[in-house]
């Protein structure tokens, strides 16, 4: 007899099956987040914000109050809520475009202010929803609709190092990490620490997750995992970059 995997309670049954593409990394991320929300029993305290892009497919995903905002503006909306209502556990969900391009100033300032919100960012190296344009985290040589000959690092810079930037400007009490959907146990552990950090009111939490987009990468299953585990891992280091109470070293 096979045991069916349990859907997290915080997942809204009525809106399943979800609309993400087959092989997408978002549902893996959202599953880890859902389990954490369940374990902490905070569904009634969380306000979940999603950005424009594939992250917006999460707008009716959870049994948690959700606001779909504008592109890059999820962080300030969630910050605004938290500032007005201290009890809220604010989680801002976005992609690499929403977080590192149009939303970068908000990310920087939320980190600088040590806003007690959790920014969770799915990095799949391109703008998925709009058809696969180049993004800040596109890899060198990677072909996208606006880098049809491959990303030229000389002209457009190297892949954006988000958690490293946030670490450099964040304050004591912040938690910053990079996880990957290729390691689900570690992913959940990191998300749990990030949520706990804002739940306990210690400071800003930021987690980037290396995620999958076979649709826009045009990869089959094997190639998809290879891309995230080998190619992306070359440019994006996995691990915790900043933990409250620990010194900046390591």
């Amino acid at each position: 007899m096979s045991i069916q995997p349990q859907m997290p309670k915080s997942w809204c049954l009525e809106t399943k099956p979800h609309k993400f593409c087959p092989g997408c990394g978002h549902p893996m991320l959202l599953k880890a987040l859902g389990e954490v929300i369940d374990e902490f029993e905070i569904a009634d305290k969380v306000v979940f914000g999603c950005d424009i892009g594939c992250s917006l497919l999460a707008w009716d995903f959870f049994n948690v109050d959700t606001i779909q905002t504008h592109h890059g503006r999820t962080t300030p909306v969630i910050v605004g809520i938290k500032r007005a209502d201290e009890e809220v556990i604010g989680i801002a969900y976005m992609g690499d475009g929403g977080g590192y391009a149009i939303g970068s100033q908000h990310l920087v300032n939320a980190a600088a202010r040590n806003d007690k919100v959790f920014v969770l960012l799915a990095n799949n190296t391109q703008y998925g929803m709009t058809g696969g344009q180049m993004a800040p985290t596109t890899l060198p040589g990677q072909k996208t609709e606006t880098s049809p000959y491959g990303r030229d690092v000389e002209a457009t810079g190297p892949p954006f190092q988000g958690p490293e930037m946030v670490t450099a400007i964040s304050q004591e009490g912040a938690y910053v990490a990079r996880a990957t959907v290729a390691n689900p146990r570690q992913l959940k552990k990191i998300i749990k620490r990030a949520v706990e950090n804002v739940k306990e009111g210690r400071g800003f939490s930021f987690v980037e997750v290396l995620s999958l987009c076979p649709t826009n990468w045009r990869t089959n299953a094997e190639q998809t995992w290879k891309f995230v585990e080998d190619d992306m891992a070359k440019y994006f280091k996995i691990g915790e970059l900043k933990v409250p109470g620990e010194s900046k070293e390591g």
Binding site: P17, R218, Q223
Partner: protein, 221 residues
Amino acid sequence: MDIPIVEAYIGEYASGKSENAVNRALWLKNQGRKVTLADLDIVEPFYTLRPIKKKLEEMGIEVMAWESRKTMGLGETGNIIKPELRWVLKRPGDLILDVGYGVEGAKTLNLVHGAYDNPYLKIYAVINVSRPMTSTVPDIVEYIKYLGRVDGIINNTHLGDETDIEVIQNGAKIVNEASQELKIPVIFTSVEKHHQDILGNRDCAGNPVFYIQRFMSETFW
């Protein structure tokens, strides 16, 4: 059972892939075959098979595509893939894959499990000489080389409502020259039905003519 027909239509943006895919699927269905038409358009949500899904299903073709109204996120998007598409090769009968445009050409077929290993798969590049990026022999040759694996070329040269015999025959000539240089055969030339009286069964390059009916003009959104 006879050999299943599995064809993937790839090519430049707005070259006529979907129109040819739909007409080919209908032609096969009219031969008494079971056909599935799969929507693999993943770059922009316009002119996909979605709006005519119901109409085609009523005509007897199975269409694997989202219905526009059901895809939340259309606010910015719409190019998410329906999960069933991943396993579409497991379906019995013929399969026509409408592969949207994109910088990666035929690589989109990676999203269909087992596509490249399928012994029956034929990848056809649809070319319209009136499209500025594929209007000369060198451009077409360069473009097809860049697409990746291409087993055949479909000449879909037209100028919309301004198509005339000269446009059609000129297109046939140019595509034929490119085909010879690439050593990739031209499978057929597509021409709108109402030109049937001016053009016979073959174009000036000797390619068979496939007369098509316009469906995609209804599919703007």
